[in-house]
Symmetry: D2
Subunit: 386 residues, 4 copies
């Protein structure tokens, strides 16, 4: 158990960081949902707040009064146990509650939490509170990805802010790291917070493999494009091939060819591509096809976890070959909190690492992110293995 | 020709009225598009402005500088002759240009027009300018309907403003007006402005018919609902029956049953239904089924036009049995302006009258409105004939 | 009333003609439904039989035993009053009942009808029987169109039979027939059979117009194609333009360019196009765009009916500008028979004439055919007016 | 290498068995495709033939003449390397080639193969020939599943034949088999034929687990249904829950409640459910939800393979928790044959075992079948682990 004082600091810090991400936005930017996977920023602000209201204050704070009776309906994401909710595709159709009211909601709940934390809390409540904090951190990453999408899909291509270094230069030599055959321990085995999907530390047998010390670069990826990677069906999964045909995909998301040169939209606006930086915003299908073209493959999540002490990581969420499945002995929590991870363990691929959008101290070597194989609005990349 | 001074007044009045409709809105309300037919208010503000910029200023004002190079792409609605544009379903995905910038755009263009009108203008330009003004008036009506939809489909059901009397009481006795068989003249035959689809005054032979002096009321419509109108397939067109099944339609749009009583959402918020007022927000399919149930029918647009001197109208756009087709001798104008009406003359039904949302002095006895038979977010109603 | 003997002859002749249309088919051809609008031939055979069983034998023949309890479910087309049925899109998913059983069903019902007609029948029953016979004749036309579609959309392009002259040469000079302004009587006014949608003879005022003495030819249509008719949006309705874009339409149905020359699939197989013959298998949208391109228009159904004594017709169903709407005083019959026509009087265009696929003595000057504006698997063409 | 004589026997036996499966069919049954996953029997007959023609005769038999130039277009399933083909959803729209012609095609190709095999063939050709034979065996299983679907989804529920014992009684006691933690070898390690996806025998670390000696029975599954399994969202994956809602799934495929008792459609027609027999025709989602409800889980494919010597299997393809992924060192063959397995290794779950529809001697302990998680027209079941 961490002290309530530290918990309060962590909470307040997290609550504030979310709001600071939204600082550069115009009010209009808070409202729209240009893709089903992209939630309006004000929805993120409300949803992370609702989580604390629903799972902490409503249940545990004596005489707590809901900020608004209908907000559970508006801000519940997918918790069937909590009840009916705005369907996901409708989030961008709601002009109300307005941005100012959502901030009022945030501040009301933050203050109530602060007050609540001035007393003693049980270990069980602390656990849920920590989930709420880490849940909000996860949404900070989504929030940034969603803001980038909202601006990057606008025909005016407005910039967000300059301070994010989305494409740090990789200036090491590419090398293959050798990892020896044997039994490895996989899963969380530390003090501190982790999600239930990392628990159940267990043994995995790995065969000899090599993994690259660095991420695939924009330069490598341009070569793939120029050598016809997007038109050679032998490189693609059948589902991936259908996906690129139906969506007319010919480059990573946010790439534009301007006067013959590749550019990409970044949080600072449209920029010329930096060839040495790691490629970003690709789907699993593209990562797989690139690896096929290189005569290599993606690592499994177990290989990645075993090898990660030997390379730098954290700029890109890295697609792995692994499907998102429960570890041996995985058991989801009872009730609504149990819906957090378990019910998504099908039809998704695991990503490992973290990204330029991940909040500080949020990810760790055992962290498992997961998305459907065609999604690419997150800061995704790839590392080769063989 | 009207004087340039009067033209300027009419223009400025119209431009201002559009903005005054938006006064009660929050910034967030300007942005969303909760249905493909419902455009964001800021889009209406920009589109009506773009119309003047594209068809007047760009072509005829010497040295005119576009306010923004990309706004034609953002604010063109459907003019193929003008070029590519944001697809209609994407209007609600654009947070930028922001509301303030759209107002700047409006004021820039209004000022440029004012300056332009201080000189002499040709009759041809005057004609286009008048189309632009009446085009903006049409959008005022759409704007109000869209605002109502944006708020009325929000789970919080926020009110817009109190001053619109959407459901005026009908306190006359219902009577049947007899119209005698014979040849009638149909179409515009007046001085002043009209659209090209009203021109081509021509003769139509009408047989004896009767038409009601008033609109079908909420009370009548509740009876239709209660007697199973929505579940008797014999009353419906095949397409209408499919439509109510697939969309689970059981009452007019905006109707809610609260504690056993019918209410409707109005611009002033949720209200108990006023039985004597004219029913509103019904589709052509519903209007037709109601008439079948009553053993009556809808008038044709010709019957309506011939009979209209003998009854009051203007509270509801009234569905007619007529399909939207060209009058004899109809010819569309060359170029982009020709796209205004002609290309929509298929798959739509004609509505006659006007509504509580119609700007003052905008409609007239020969005015032809038109919508697809399933639409009902406009202030539509019905009048029986037999 | 016609004599029961003549009625029996007419019935038997009709029943037999349907079967003779199917003679050239392989068993496999009876089963498939390559488009929602194309029913499997065995379904036509069964449905026309079920019509007699349901509306005559079951109700009026004492002790009649259904051939099979489930056939009403299988062969009901759209009669809500009769009960549940196989959804339309599933007709081609049913391998059973097999072709032989469907023929057994036909013969059983034909024999029962014959026996039934050996006694006296009421005028009311005669009327329904006549509807049944004419209903089957309508299906003969659909049957042929559907067979052509089934074979013409097969990559092997198998021929059906040689005896149908689908593209008779037009060897008259094109001339414009002048029709004078005035009041014309429209609708059925004869002895013999007609559908309810032709009844209600009434007056229509027509203005002076001209109508062509012949149909638009393949040669004319090729010129339209070659001069870019399919890529000039100004010629098209907005809905028509969307339709040709989404379906990549660039020529009439069944046209193929082989080694640089236009060919079409006919019932006798692929053939080089005969330029003087009337164009066939075009949608209303194409007919309209062609007329726009020619600076002409389509006639209304009233103009067509008034002018038809002065030109030859019967090779093509001719698209008109009229929407399918009830005539003044139209009233549908009570019960299931009332579903025959009335419930389709929305979203469809009227066609007049008849076609090379129409059974002998089936059509007449007042006959109203109707289809959605995008359909073209019928033998449709166009005649210009101005 | 097996002798050419044995190879010829195996080939002829296989070719004949395919045809014998079709013996009980009516010609109409060969043609339809009531679901995108269900191919018409005549397509299976043609496709398995085309495989030999394309990959053996065309390439290796001197002076081989194609049976028909267009058959590659008609019968290619998904081999991008071979060229364009009929889209999958159109297979049931083709009445031609007819059944008789498809049989001619079969016999022509079988004879050509026989002749070809009377000479010497290289090891490489033998390998492809063996793939062709096993490919055809796989299609025998699909053929039977598809026939069952074609008949079982027909409202007349016609029987196929009596000789298949789809629901053998399980009369052992249910017991849990204990498997000890350790490193296990997984993958093919035998002489004889296997697919490329079984190769790459490798080590896997398994933790202690228990696996049931028998399949989940109909009786158990009825209990799951009756205790509300299909309405408790906590048991389901999010995707599974959406799937049962959208498709209104409330029982395994082919189950019907008749007069209050559960029945299922079998190849012998509708039958009362045998409670002790293994449940069949369930999706992965249902298998998972059932296991959740029982407080157990599905085995991984590795657990299954390690444990399979200790239980009987072969009546049901058994869903596993494993996603279909390549084994370490997996490499697909170059060219079209490489499309056989590799490009499907995403978005599918592995099934192990075999079923009552599997041809004799076709499956083996290392055999990996795979389907999307919602499919259930195969003879699928489940075995619990914990």
């Amino acid at each position: 158990m961490i002290s309530t004082q530290n918990l309060t600091s962590l909470l307040l810090e997290t609550r504030e960081r979310t709001e600071s991400i939204c600082k550069p936005l115009e009010i209009e930017d808070y409202v729209v949902q240009p893709d089903i996977n992209v939630s309006p920023p004000k929805w993120h602000l409300g949803h992370t707040t609702w989580f604390f209201e629903e799972f902490i204050l409503k249940l545990h704070k004596p005489n707590y009064r809901l900020f608004h009776d209908d907000f559970a309906f508006v801000f519940n994401s997918y918790y069937e146990n909590i009840g009916k909710r705005v369907v996901r595709s409708d989030r961008g159709n709601l002009s109300r509650p307005g941005v100012a009211q959502v901030y009022d909601y945030r501040h009301y709940v933050t203050n109530e939490l602060k007050e609540f934390l001035s007393g003693d809390i049980s270990e069980e409540i602390e656990e849920v509170l920590l989930i709420g904090i880490h849940h909000e951190k996860q949404h900070q990453e989504l929030l940034l990805s969603d803001i980038k999408y909202i601006l990057g899909n606008n025909p005016l291509l407005p910039a967000y802010q300059d301070s994010i270094n989305e494409y740090p230069i990789q200036n090491q030599e590419q090398e293959w790291i050798d990892i020896s055959e044997g039994v490895y321990e996989i899963g969380f085995n530390d003090s501190g917070f982790c999600y239930d999907n990392e628990l159940g530390r267990h043994k995995v047998y790995l065969h000899d493999f090599q993994i690259s010390n660095q991420l695939v670069s924009n330069g490598d990826y341009i070569e793939f494009i120029e050598q016809g990677g997007y038109s050679d069906f032998n490189l693609w999964h059948a589902d991936g091939w259908t996906w690129i045909q139906e969506n007319n995909i010919q480059a990573p998301m946010y790439w534009h060819k301007v006067d013959g040169d590749w550019h990409y939209f970044t949080c600072s606006g449209l920029q010329k591509i930096e060839r040495s930086a790691a490629v970003c915003h690709i789907s699993y299908y593209e990562a797989f096809a690139f690896a096929q073209w290189k005569g290599a493959r993606l690592p499994t999540e177990f290989e990645w976890e075993a090898a990660q002490p030997y390379f730098d990581w954290g700029d890109r969420w890295e697609w792995t070959e692994s499907s998102y499945l429960p570890y041996p002995g995985y058991a989801k929590a009872p009730g609504a909190i149990g819906e957090y991870n378990g019910k998504f363990m099908v039809n998704q691929k695991v990503l490992r690492g973290g990204s330029v959008a991940t909040p500080p101290n949020h990810t760790r070597p055992t962290y498992r992110n997961f998305f459907q194989p065609e999604l690419r609005w997150q800061f995704t990349g790839l590392r080769l293995a063989k």
